[in-house]
Assembly symmetry: C2
Amino acid sequence: MNDTIDWLRGPAASPSAAAGREATDRQLQLTKPPGALGELEALAIRLAALQGTPKPAVERVHVTVFAADHGVATEQVSAFPQAVTVEMLRNFAHGGSAINVLARELGAILEVINLGTVNDPGPLEGVLDCRLGPGTENFTRAAAMSPEQRARATRTGRDAAERAFLAGVQLFIGGEMGIGNTTAAAALGCALLGLPPEHLAGPGAGLAPAGVAHKVEVIRRALLLHRPHLADPHEALRRLGGFEIAALTGSYLGCAQLGLPVLVDGFITSVAALAAARLCPGAAQWFIFAHRSAEPGHRLVLAAMGSQPLLDLGLRLGEGSGAAAAVPLLRLACALHRDMATFAEAGVSGKER
Amino acid sequence: MNDTIDWLRGPAASPSAAAGREATDRQLQLTKPPGALGELEALAIRLAALQGTPKPAVERVHVTVFAADHGVATEQVSAFPQAVTVEMLRNFAHGGSAINVLARELGAILEVINLGTVNDPGPLEGVLDCRLGPGTENFTRAAAMSPEQRARATRTGRDAAERAFLAGVQLFIGGEMGIGNTTAAAALGCALLGLPPEHLAGPGAGLAPAGVAHKVEVIRRALLLHRPHLADPHEALRRLGGFEIAALTGSYLGCAQLGLPVLVDGFITSVAALAAARLCPGAAQWFIFAHRSAEPGHRLVLAAMGSQPLLDLGLRLGEGSGAAAAVPLLRLACALHRDMATFAEAGVSGKER
């Protein structure tokens, strides 16, 4: 345990202000009105600072999907049966899910980690078995995780970040799959932001309004039960999170410590990013937010992170799919930054009024 | 001329409702909560209807950039000198512009057409010389184009659409370059929408507020001069447009008539799309709007077209660059639609509440 606590306390790496300045200077020399490429300019500059090079690149992308089950699913908080978590692990193994398709199209590395499903799926090709139990406890009755489970989950995430970093990738994407996990994310988000559950609980994978009202009450009970312990983000994560949410938090922390830029996906992953930012000052500098999810609570989490995401396409699938959809924008931003001619190279006149 | 008038009167092709329905059915069977891929689902379904196939694709993309100069530039309505139009043609020829970089990254065909610059750039590799004059007339004093120039400009655009169609591309992008062309587009937009110039005139490539106020007055004078003729969209286009705006309009009309989907770029191209929609009922079905430009008037033009664009990244470069930036979203939408497993194929359970 001491080892784990030690790494969680490690500081975030520092982006390179010099590389950021050099990239800013270059943007002003490219053959376009200054600022005319809007967020694509800002992205190139930010990636330059994060990667510590004036000409950043996002060719090598690593995606880890963390999957787990949730005890709170027995409270009937999801539109889908809990069996879907394991069924989707099989779908990942067979290459049929959205994130499989997107990773193939992007040429990204995809790994899937089972942190703890209710049912044992048996060996699945391409799925790492890191099960910490048959899902978390029902957090309306007890803490979701034991201290050991929480520590192992975050460490599993950190290990994924480290594998990606050592393989030399330029961008990390975390994804998640787990029936009931918008309930856990909403509960954790409420604890971290001090908001009542009706602000963060939403339809998830497709609950009707009555189901959302029930989900709000379930989260309210959990917040009451755990209230004395929620000021500490470690405890909030352990009591209200999920194995995959703790693993995501660990992976984002690891990326921030190692200096690997993260493209954050949707609602659940943004709550994990928020937890990472609470655990480690400076971690959030490493997080680029890919999209605004259709899950209504996402905008509050994004606002708390001070982030303006790249896409707003009504996505709400998870698996890292929204982040994957934004990868081409990062690549095009880098290509424009690298390959456009400067005013001097092209002999083009500058602004006159 | 009769030939030209005849083709302008041709009807738009009809999208395939059957292919759209088949694509909608497929989306409901894919292993994700129904609707969870948001606009990416809607895009795949719309492309299916437009391409007349239940499994659409956007691998082969054609970009034509139309360039021309504007007589109204002598009224000092741009932040950049008029020489930049020809200088940017050279930059296109040498591969250094934003659209060159984007087309290379996307593997898209790029052609550039000079419709009429003030200066003769001489022969430029990769730039078609279709000059109709040394720029348009200053439309604060006379009609921008003669009837013949307007007819030849729209026909040049239609020819570009036809080349793309005959080459078997799956998507057409029109781009533009021309110092002063946000002034022409704003004037034409005002005529087509019945709006005063302060609603559509903006900073363009980077005018300061005083410059924008001057631009508003220049457009107001032009609207007063041509007012008796502006109810007819052909006349509005001829009197207030530019060679490249008329060519864009012709290219979009051609695509609609031939049944080739168009990805519309920013402010100027959206005004050309609006003109095409006014000239040909049904043309707008073929137009997908790529992004909301930073040019403030763009949102009014988009609203008039009833369109919600895909991206909102503060882009305001033109050249077709914003449309090019959105191409990967169309490609990923098609890949997800084509390659994801269905619930039945993957043995995944559906919704239960």
